[in-house]
C-alpha cells in the first residue's frame, strides 16, 4: 500500500485562534483505497484539521496538495467540487426534502431551467443501489433512521466523483447494526479506490475498519501507524499521553476507599438506570464523602450518566434510591430537592447565564430552590458571594461583572460556587478542569478533596486519567455507552490498568453488576 502515491498530503499545518494554538506543524497524508482513522482526545485538533482541509478555516502555515497539486479551498463546496467531500456527525440534510432531492439539491439535472425530477429519482436510485440501499427515494429523509440518513449523506458526498471522503464521527448516534451497515459501505467505497478519512471516538470501530491511524494530541502530531502495529492500549496511551505532573501533588498516594465511607449508608443507589440511545442500563452506588471518578473516552457515555442522575434527561428504565428511599429524578428541580448539583461540561450553553453578573449566577440555584417570592436578602447574597469569591479565588473579584467577561476557569469556579451555595450532598462535576489554566485546575482539584473530606459526595468526570486517579475513591469506567467496570482505587490500580479497561472493556465485568 505504501507504494501508491498519496491522493492527499498536508504538510506542516499550523493554525491558531486568538489565544489558542489549535494545530502546530501537523503532517498528514491519505492514500487512495484506504480507511484512515484520525484519533485524538477532545481538543486535540481533529476537527480543526478537517476544517482547515476543507477550507472552512484558512491555513496559517503549511500546504495541502491534492494529487500532487497544491490546493487551497475557500469552503466545503469548493472542496467537494475538487473531490474532497465531507459527511458530518450531525447529519446535514434537509429533513423535509425527499431522499433523492437531498442527494442532488444544488446540482439537480435541469432542462431549460426546470428540474428534471424523473432524472433526479433515476440517478438517486442508481446511486443508492451502488450503496446496496433499497429505499423509497421519494420519501422525506426525516422518515428514515439516522443510519439511513447518514448513508444518504454519503451518497450525496460520493456523487460528485469524490476521491477523498471525510467522515467526521458518523457513527456517534448509530447502534451496532447500523454501524455494520455503514462499515460495509465504507469497505465497498474503499475497494473502489476512494480514500476515506474516518474520525470516531469508538476504539472497536477503529480496529474494525481502519487501515492506518494518525494520532493527534494537543494540536501536534503524535504519529502515523499501520493498524497492526498499534494495539489498543498503545493507542489509548498515545491519545491521552502521560501527562507530566506539573501540578503540585495534592496527595502522594491514591486515596484508598476508606472503610468508614464504604460502611456508611449509601447516599445514592442507582440500579439499572438507562436511556435508550444514550446509555445502557448501569448500576452505581455513591456514599457520602465519596469521590467517584468516571473515566472513559469522549463519547463513551460519561455525560449521559451525569445527566440521568441529575434528571436533565429522563431515564426510561431503572430506579434511583436516595437515602434508601426510592425516588424519581425526572427533572433538575427534583434532583436539586434531593441535594444533587450538576456542573455541565458545556459551560457556555448549559452553565453560565452570560448576561447576568457573577453574583446573580452564583445565587441562581439557591434562589430557584427558594422560589421567586422569597428573594435572598441582598446582605446575605453579598456575604455568600464574597465568601466564595475568596474561597475559590475568583478573578476579577468583582461580583457585579457580567460573567461572560470572565475567563473560562473563573466561569467554572462561579458555576462551582452556584452549587456549593446550595450545600448539595452530591455534586456532579462534568469535566470541571477542561479548557482552563493549570492554576485554576489545581485549585479545583484541591477543592474536590476538601469537599469530600467535609462529607460531600462527588461524581468526578474527566478525560484525564491522572486527575481521576488522584482524586477518586472509586473509579467507574465507561466504554461505548456502557459502564464496564468499577475499580476500588487501591494500590493495584494505576493508569495502565484503567487504560486497559478503557481499551478492552473486559476488566472485572462482574463489578458493574
Amino acid at each position: 500500500m505504501t507504494d501508491s502515491r498519496p491522493v492527499l498530503t498536508m504538510t506542516g499545518i499550523s493554525k491558531s485562534f486568538p489565544g489558542v494554538r489549535a494545530l502546530h506543524n501537523v503532517d498528514f497524508r491519505l492514500l487512495p483505497g484506504e480507511v484512515h482513522a484520525l484519533m485524538g482526545e477532545n481538543g486535540a485538533g481533529k476537527s480543526t484539521l478537517i476544517k482547515v482541509l476543507t477550507g472552512v478555516y484558512g491555513i496559517d502555515e503549511g500546504s495541502v496538495t491534492l494529487d500532487g497539486e497544491q490546493v487551497a479551498f475557500n469552503g466545503p463546496m469548493q472542496a467537494a467540487a475538487a473531490g474532497v467531500s465531507t459527511v458530518y456527525q450531525e447529519v446535514n440534510l434537509c429533513p423535509n426534502l425527499s431522499v433523492a432531492e437531498n442527494i442532488f439539491i444544488g446540482r439537480e439535472p435541469r432542462r431549460f431551467g426546470a428540474v428534471r425530477w424523473g432524472e433526479v429519482r433515476r440517478r438517486a436510485r442508481q446511486l443508492l443501489t451502488r450503496l446496496d440501499l433499497d429505499i423509497d427515494v421519494t420519501a422525506p429523509v426525516a422518515s428514515y433512521s439516522l443510519a439511513v440518513q447518514q448513508m444518504v449523506a454519503i451518497a450525496r458526498a460520493i456523487d460528485v466523483q469524490a476521491r477523498v471522503l471525510i467522515l467526521d464521527e458518523p457513527t456517534s448516534s448509530l447502534d451496532a447494526g447500523e454501524v455494520a451497515q455503514l462499515f460495509r459501505i465504507m469497505r465497498q467505497l474503499r475497494d473502489e479506490g476512494i480514500a476515506i478519512l474516518f474520525v470516531t471516538h469508538f476504539l472497536d470501530q477503529v480496529y474494525g475498519i481502519a487501515d492506518r491511524i494518525t494520532v493527534l494530541r494537543n494540536g501536534t502530531l503524535v504519529g502515523e501507524y499501520p493498524i497492526d502495529e498499534l494495539p489498543q492500549l498503545a493507542l489509548v496511551e498515545k491519545m491521552i499521553g502521560k501527562e507530566l505532573d506539573v501540578l503540585e501533588r495534592i496527595e502522594e498516594q491514591p486515596r484508598p476507599a476508606t472503610a468508614a465511607i464504604e460502611s456508611g449508608a449509601p447516599f445514592v443507589q442507582v440500579s439499572q438506570l438507562g436511556r435508550r440511545g444514550a446509555v445502557a442500563p448501569f448500576s452505581l452506588t455513591i456514599h457520602a464523602g465519596e469521590v467517584v471518578g468516571l473515566a472513559g473516552l469522549l463519547g463513551s457515555g460519561r455525560t449521559e450518566v451525569a445527566r440521568l442522575l441529575f434528571g436533565a434527561d429522563r431515564a426510561d428504565r431503572g430506579e434511583v434510591q436516595v437515602d434508601g428511599a426510592r425516588t424519581g429524578l425526572r427533572n433538575p428541580v427534583q434532583a436539586i430537592e434531593q441535594g444533587i448539583g450538576f456542573c455541565s461540561e458545556n459551560r457556555r450553553a448549559e452553565g453560565i447565564i452570560g448576561d447576568l453578573s457573577v453574583r446573580e449566577n452564583m445565587i441562581l440555584a439557591m434562589q430557584a430552590a427558594r422560589g421567586w417570592l422569597r428573594p435572598i436578602p441582598r446582605r446575605r447574597q453579598d456575604e455568600l458571594v464574597d465568601r466564595y469569591i475568596k474561597a475559590l479565588s475568583i478573578r476579577p473579584a468583582n461580583p457585579e461583572m457580567p460573567v461572560r467577561n470572565l475567563s473560562g476557569g473563573n466561569q467554572q469556579k462561579v458555576l462551582l460556587a452556584r452549587w456549593l451555595i446550595t450545600e448539595p450532598r452530591l455534586l456532579i462535576l462534568d469535566e470541571p478542569t477542561r479548557g482552563i489554566d493549570i492554576g485554576a485546575k489545581a485549585e479545583i482539584q484541591k477543592l474536590v478533596v476538601q469537599l469530600s473530606d467535609g462529607g460531600m459526595a462527588v461524581l468526578f468526570i474527566s478525560a484525564e486519567l491522572e486527575e481521576v486517579l488522584r482524586l477518586s475513591h472509586k473509579i467507574a469506567v465507561m466504554r461505548d455507552r456502557e459502564l464496564v467496570a468499577q475499580l476500588d482505587n487501591d494500590d493495584t490500580v494505576d493508569a495502565d490498568r484503567v487504560m486497559q479497561t478503557i481499551a478492552s472493556g473486559t476488566e472485572r465485568e462482574e463489578a458493574s453488576r
Binding site: P332, R348, A349, L364, A368, L373, G435
Partner: protein, 356 residues
C-alpha cells in the same frame, strides 16, 4: 485629557446615552422650531403645556411597554396587547354605559375589575400557548391579535360605545396634584412592576430564562411558570392602558382602540436597550423609549405633518436602533469599544456554531 476622554467614552458606552441624547435633541429641535414648546402654564390649578401633554399621552404606551419589556426579556413577544387594550376598554365602557348611574364609583370599579379579569384570562391563554403547548410566541400571540379585534367589536356590537362617566374619564383626563392622573397611574404601574421584579427574585429569574433557557433549567428554575406569568402581567398592563385610551375619549372603538400600540411598545422596549433576543431588561430605558416615541408623534403633529406620515420617521428610528444593536452591523462598521470583552477560546465558539 485622557481622563476626560475616558469619562466621555464611559458615558458614550452607557446604555441610556443614545436614548437620552435622541430625546434631548428632539426637544431642542422642537424648542428652536417653536420657542414656546417647553412652556408650562398653570390654569385652573392644573399644569398645561406641551411637555405635560407628552407625559400624559405617553402614559398608555408606557404601561403596555412595561409588560412588553418582561415578555421580550424572556425571549418572547406579545403581539396581542393592542387587541387586549380594545377588549378591556370595550368591556369597561359597555358595563358603564348600561349602568343606571354612570357616575357611580362602584359601577366604574366593577367595570374595571371585570375588564381586568377578562384581560388576565386572555393573558393566561397566551401564556398557556407559549409555555405549555410550546408555540412560538410571535405566532401564539398573533392568534389573539387577529381574533381579539373581532372580540372587541363583538362586545361593542360593532358600535362605538360612548359613555358619560366622570370617574371613568378621570383615568384619562383627571388631575392630581396639578398633574394629569394618567401620569401617576403610569408611574405607579412602573414602580409596581419594578418592585414586583426587582424586590423579588422574579426579575433575575426572567432575565436568566431569557438569557439561557437550558442553563436556567439545569439550575432548577421552572421556566414554564415564569414565561406564563409574564404574559399575564403583559395582559394586565395592556388592560389598564386600554382603560386610559378609552377614558381619554370617553368612548370605546373596537377597531381603533390601541391600534398598532404593540408595535410602538416593541419599539420602545428596543430603544430602551432590552435586546429582542431576551436577557437583561431595563424598565427605565423602556419608559424613556416610550417618551421618545410620544415626543416624535407630538413633534410631527406640531409640524402639521399627518400622523400617518410620522410612520416614516418611526421606520427610520426602528432601522437605526436595530442596526446599532445588531452585532453583525457593529462588527462591520463599529469600532471596538475598549471595554469590550476579548473573544474567548474562539475554536470552541466555532465548534458551537457548526452543528445543526
Amino acid at each position: 485629557m485622557s481622563d476626560a476622554g475616558n469619562r466621555f467614552r464611559t458615558m458614550l458606552g452607557h446604555r441610556l446615552f443614545w436614548p437620552v441624547a435622541v430625546l434631548v435633541v428632539m426637544l431642542a429641535a422642537n424648542t428652536i422650531y417653536r420657542p414656546g414648546f417647553l412652556a408650562v402654564e398653570v390654569n385652573n390649578g392644573h399644569l398645561y403645556g406641551t411637555p405635560i401633554d407628552i407625559l400624559r399621552l405617553s402614559a398608555p404606551l408606557i404601561l403596555v411597554a412595561l409588560g412588553m419589556t418582561l415578555v421580550i426579556s424572556t425571549g418572547g413577544i406579545d403581539l396581542s396587547v393592542g387587541s387586549l387594550c380594545a377588549i378591556s376598554g370595550a368591556i369597561a365602557c359597555l358595563y358603564i354605559s348600561r349602568a343606571p348611574d354612570q357616575n357611580n364609583l362602584v359601577t366604574v370599579l366593577t367595570a374595571l375589575a371585570m375588564a381586568l379579569g377578562v384581560a388576565l384570562a386572555l393573558g393566561a391563554w397566551n401564556g398557556v400557548l407559549v409555555s405549555v403547548i410550546g408555540i412560538q410566541p410571535i405566532i401564539a400571540t398573533l392568534i389573539l391579535m387577529v381574533a381579539g379585534r373581532g372580540l372587541a367589536q363583538l362586545i361593542a356590537e360593532g358600535q362605538i360605545i360612548t359613555i358619560n362617566s366622570g370617574p371613568y374619564r378621570a383615568i384619562g383626563l383627571g388631575h392630581l396634584l396639578t398633574l394629569p392622573l394618567a401620569i401617576f397611574i403610569a408611574l405607579a404601574a412602573a414602580l409596581l412592576v419594578a418592585a414586583f421584579t426587582r424586590r423579588t427574585a422574579l426579575g433575575m429569574i426572567v432575565e436568566s430564562v431569557g438569557g439561557n433557557r437550558e442553563a436556567s433549567r439545569l439550575a432548577g428554575i421552572r421556566s414554564g411558570r415564569v414565561v406564563f406569568l409574564v404574559y399575564v402581567v403583559s395582559a394586565a398592563c395592556a388592560a389598564i392602558a386600554g382603560f386610559m385610551m378609552t377614558a381619554n375619549v370617553s368612548s370605546a372603538d373596537g377597531n381603533n382602540t390601541g391600534l398598532w400600540v404593540e408595535l410602538d411598545a416593541i419599539l420602545a422596549v428596543v430603544i430602551g436597550g432590552t435586546s429582542l433576543a431576551g436577557g437583561r431588561f431595563y424598565l427605565g430605558g423602556t419608559i424613556l423609549g416610550a417618551l421618545i416615541i410620544q415626543t416624535l408623534t407630538t413633534t410631527v403633529y406640531a409640524m402639521n405633518i399627518s400622523p400617518q406620515t410620522a410612520l416614516l420617521f418611526k421606520a427610520v428610528v426602528v432601522i437605526a436602533v436595530c442596526l446599532i444593536q445588531a452585532p453583525a452591523f457593529r462588527a462591520k462598521f463599529g469600532r471596538r469599544r475598549p471595554g469590550a470583552p476579548p473573544p474567548q477560546s474562539s475554536p470552541q465558539r466555532q465548534k458551537e456554531q457548526v452543528p445543526a
